[in-house]
């Protein structure tokens, strides 16, 4: 942010002798407003509409298609409906904690945006412990969820809260351990530093640089889905067993806060994986104009993140929910040992080839493409066997 402000000051946009501190403060204020009102909350709303549409299409339904073109304004209608609803507080609840819990969840959702690396200069604060900051502030979610579950004074809420806490605390371990292979490769914890250690081309991304980081990227994605309470790990709010889990007693705006945070967290999950393993905003240097490059980098970063968000939606539409014992055994028996092996393996790899192996990225990339091709062949096989009208007209 400071770099961008400095470059604009140097171009004489604010006169000859501008008050620098005020301009920095103005930049941070304006950028935060843009991020929250223009990106974070609209994103959470729009992704709820996208999810319902994609999900409906996967189940041969239409989904919300009445409000606005193709139902695009459905998220605004839902938001207005929730604002207008009565804010119920159960008589036997703990009112202070009941009211406070949604704010804690929304706080844990907004804080990570401070280190979100949209482009080489569009970042609010490039902390030198950026990725650690991200994991630590998202860890506050669990306190909010537990508070909501307990303060509601309701069986479903309490069970949902306990499940959520067990799940988040367990999956934080593989998620935290899978972050560190990328940190080892980059030699820094700063978001921009990790991205700058990678290149624009897929064979320079950390995901493909050796077999261990390839597995680590996948483990991180699975654990992040579990931490974000997404299907197939959405046990804390399992509709068929717990009504709505920790959010059962909530209504109106407070209920919306939980779900805005959940959908918005999809962007944060995608951004963490894009930054650590998929090269972040890296784009080939085709112009010396800072504005053009920043816009191109912004688009690159968002395409990668939104693709990962789409995969999350897709997974939710495809996989059934796991049982609680399966959830715990997946974490403790498989993901935790795998992520330990990844960490040690990456360290050994760096010790053997300090400047990187030149063959391994191509092999990993070929392996990845082979997986994608196999998958596409399976999908096309089912496409040939099914009725095509609904799939091919996305605007019903």
């Amino acid at each position: 942010m400071q770099q961008l402000a400095d470059s604009l000051i140097a171009q004489g946009m604010f006169g000859a002798n501008p008050p620098r501190d005020l301009i920095y403060a103005l930049f941070i204020f304006v950028f935060s407003l843009i991020v929250f009102l223009g990106i974070a909350f609209p994103f959470a709303g729009i992704v709820s509409w996208v999810e319902r549409r994609v999900w409906a299409r996967m189940q041969s339904r239409c989904g919300p298609n009445r409000v606005g073109p193709n139902g695009f304004l459905q998220w605004l209608a839902d938001g207005l409906k929730h604002i207008c609803k009565e804010d119920l507080i159960p008589a036997d609840s703990d009112p202070a904690l009941f009211k406070f819990a949604p704010y804690l969840v929304i706080l844990a959702f907004t804080l990570p945006w401070a280190v979100m690396p949209f482009s080489s200069q569009l970042i609010l604060a490039d902390l030198n412990v950026g990725i650690l900051y991200m994991t630590s502030v998202t860890a506050l979610t669990v306190v909010g969820v537990l508070m909501a579950g307990w303060a509601s004074n309701d069986k479903w809420s309490l069970i949902g809260g306990i499940r959520s806490a067990a799940q988040i605390v367990s999956y934080e371990i593989p998620a935290g351990l899978s972050i560190f292979p990328a940190v080892l490769m980059a030699g820094t914890l700063s978001m921009q530093g990790i991205i700058k250690a990678q290149g624009w081309a897929p064979w320079t991304w950390f995901a493909f640089s050796n077999p261990f980081t390839f597995i680590a990227a996948n483990v991180l994605y699975i654990s992040a889905l579990a931490e974000g309470n997404r299907t197939p790990f959405d046990l804390p709010e399992a509709e068929s067993e717990l009504v709505a889990g920790f959010a059962t007693e909530y209504s109106g705006m407070r209920y919306l806060f939980f779900f805005a945070a959940e959908w918005g967290n999809l962007f944060i999950i995608g951004a963490i994986i894009t930054t650590l393993f998929l090269g972040g905003w890296q784009f080939p240097l085709i112009s010396n104009n800072a504005v053009v490059m920043n816009v191109l980098q912004l688009i690159t970063f968002n395409i990668k993140v939104l693709f990962l968000v789409f995969i999350s939606v897709w997974v939710r539409g495809t996989l059934p929910r796991v049982r609680i014992d399966q959830l715990m055994s997946l974490c403790w028996k498989y993901l935790v040992p795998i992520s330990f092996v990844d960490l040690v393996g990456t360290a050994a790899w760096i010790a053997i080839w300090p400047s990187g192996n030149s063959v391994a990225p191509w092999i990993m990339l070929a392996l990845f493409l082979a997986i994608v091709v196999t998958f596409l062949r399976r999908v096309l096989h089912y496409f040939r066997r099914s009725k095509m009208e609904l799939y091919l007209s996305p605007t019903i």
Partner: protein, 176 residues
């Protein structure tokens, strides 16, 4: 960190710590403790030790507090009125806290020279590299001893859990 900010954060930390003692309900006490730990993490960050601060937030505010909540719920602790009596406990407690306060005041009145003198701080103070260097070179033995201590704790926990389930009569309050 400016002085007013330090005073504000310190006051918040003390309010949280007082809440731990004064609240009647165990869950409220625990949430006060979360507040204290988060504020202390912010103080660490303000003093330049960003790595330690964020680790404190992940480990204490995130994970350990959740375990405490689990224990409280599993034991089903309720808010209890203060029991009368236990005069000996009150006496011993006030004696202990008086000793602690006296120690603190002694530090304020006669600060040891190591605190007052201005020492040059390295450029990378608080960075993860410096932290790792201290942990794995200067304080290696203490660090490894701590990890062995934690391992002993884990093994002890497993042993206790096994004894209650294999004790013949089943878990306390459990199925026959």
């Amino acid at each position: 960190m400016p002085l007013w900010l330090f005073i504000f954060l310190a006051a918040l930390a003390i309010i949280g710590a007082a809440g731990v003692v004064l609240q009647r309900h165990p869950v409220h006490s625990l949430l006060s403790l979360v507040m204290t730990l988060v504020v202390i993490a912010v103080l660490f960050i303000g003093l330049g030790a960003a790595t330690v601060g964020f680790l404190q937030m992940i480990v204490y505010a995130g994970a350990i507090m959740v375990l405490f909540l689990f224990v409280i719920w599993l034991l089903n602790l309720q808010s209890q009125p203060l029991e009368p009596g236990h005069l000996a406990l009150k006496f011993l407690g006030s004696l202990g806290s008086a000793a602690l306060i006296a120690e603190l005041l002694l530090f304020v009145v006669h600060p040891p020279p190591a605190i007052t003198q201005n020492r040059a701080v390295a450029m990378d103070f608080g960075s993860i590299g410096r932290l790792a260097q201290s942990l794995f070179t200067d304080y290696l033995i203490a660090f490894e001893a701590t990890s062995v201590l934690l391992l002993v704790g884990v093994i002890g926990g497993v042993a206790l859990a096994r004894r209650t389930t294999a004790g013949g009569g089943g878990a306390p309050g459990g199925t026959p």
